[in-house]
Amino acid sequence: MKLRHLIWKELWQRPTPMLTSLLAVTLGVTALVAIQNITVFSERKIAGDMESLGANVLVLPPSVTLQDYYGADMHGHTMPEEYVTRLALARLPGVENLAPKLCVEADVDTIPVTLTGILPKSEFQAKASWQGLGMLGNAVGSDRGCCATAADTGQADNDPNSLATTRTIAELGDRDVILGRDLASQLGAKTGDTLPLLGEDFTVLTVLPSTGTIDDGRMFAHLHSVQDLSGAGPVVNVIEIMACCEDAAGGLITNLSAELPETRIVTIAQVVQTQVAVNGLMSRLSWVFLSILLLVGGASIASVMYANVTERRKEIGTLMAIGASRNFVTQMFLGKAAILGLAGGAAGFIVGTIVAAVLGPQLLGIHVRPMPMLLGVGMASATIVAVVASLLPARRAAGLDPCLVFNDA
């Protein structure tokens, strides 16, 4: 038998008050872990967006505000499709490709789905007026968006899965539909299946690989099919412009505004700005939560520890009478506090990570993974608080007069 066995056995005698006293500490760590986890992964997603889409520009109907680039078409406001033609004809330098989108709500066998109309590149090719725009031979919008090299062109572009990475697709039939990964599993559909949509039968051309964005939860069909079948008419929600980064930074925005004064032109940096600010605020707040809850938690641990010392007076006196030093008694209580702190920190980490895993996709459309660093921070802060809160109770225990063993009840 060792001191730690003694602590462990005693802890399980009456664990309830001790574990309850941990609640605030655990909550504090939970809040920290959940918020930090979400903000860190949100930050990473933003960085990723900036990297892969950094040069891209969105043309939106005025009065639309955006928080998520991938949700740029999901706001219900529309503008004429004619703008696409106008942009194409303007031949603005730096514009690599144009991707107009129209988003409508539909049902597949009573399951509500988000159907997005997109325009394949073949459509542009069909329009002679767009020839020479310089975009047709290039893989567009991929990687950093910097004017694509010849190496990027070719086969990959003809793969319908390129929609997931390059956000454009070469060919798309009138009655073809492309499914996001999550939606496909929800519908139980696979490539080649036929789905009833807006009163017509559509064939699943492909299921996109998972992207970690809201694109995983929607389906894509030909823009003109969507326009016709939904009765929306020749309108779009957004025009995504794949641009060369150098040009996007420079005059492209000004040129676009001049060309389409009745729209709102937004860069990725502007889209993510709000989220960056929110993240910063949340991150700071999470430390405030942690501090407040740790203070409250410390107080409740201290009071439960005091009660524990009081109710164990005779036991402590007996231990001292049979040779336990003050140091031993102190360690007995601080050891217990340390165990509680570690447990509270670990529990907070687990709960916080679960909360982040559940809320991350719902709130921000991001997938989070556990962050071991937060486990360290959570356990360390909870343990320090528990031990510090128990210093005075432990001191009181060590200072008990062993003579009290004789005061028989």
Binding site: M1, K2, L3, K9, A321, I322, A324, S325, P402, D408
Partner: protein
Amino acid sequence: MYQLSSVTQTYERRGQIVTALDNADLTIPDNDFIAIVGPSGSGKTTLLSVLGGMLAPSTGDVMLDGQSLYDLSVEERTALRGQKIGFVFQSFNLISWLTARENVQIPLMLSGKTAKQQEERAMEMLDRVGLSDRTDHRPSEMSQGQQQRVALARTLANDPQIILADEPTGNLDSETRQQVMNYLNEFHQDGRTIVMVTHDADTAAFAHRTIRLVAGVTHEVSMARAA
């Protein structure tokens, strides 16, 4: 061997001074068996606490084997107590959430024995008090007499030279009282010094010597024969 010279212990409570031990002189040679009797509040427990190194007297000297007990630091006295002195309490003072064996292991753990040594010694001691079949029982699952025997096994674990007992039979019926006293008598015959506080004349009769305390003053009563 204990030598107490002019030991006075006073308590102050609410402005009143209580003299629990009044200028006590007492010599307890090795292997003595001594009963301390006296009315309630006469200072018996106080004397035992002083002998146990747990209560520094207001004035006077307490020598144990030529060493002035209260010139040692608290930690040194605690260590000394662990080695040399065993206690027996009226209400046994077993730790309720530990088994009989674990209770006996505690003093062994405190004196730094390995887990194996602790277990072997604890089993040996429980066997000695006739409880080898109760080693995994908790105190609440045992009779009063059995609990006191576990406490005796714990007292004996580190093989103390001195046993200080405060009303060891106070909570026991006459039969188990007899049993416990027989064990104490055995421990005395092993060569240990026993100082026992008791109210009970029959219990006191086991001792060689009886000291009567009245209002903190010691009186030698008689030199009885061991039963």
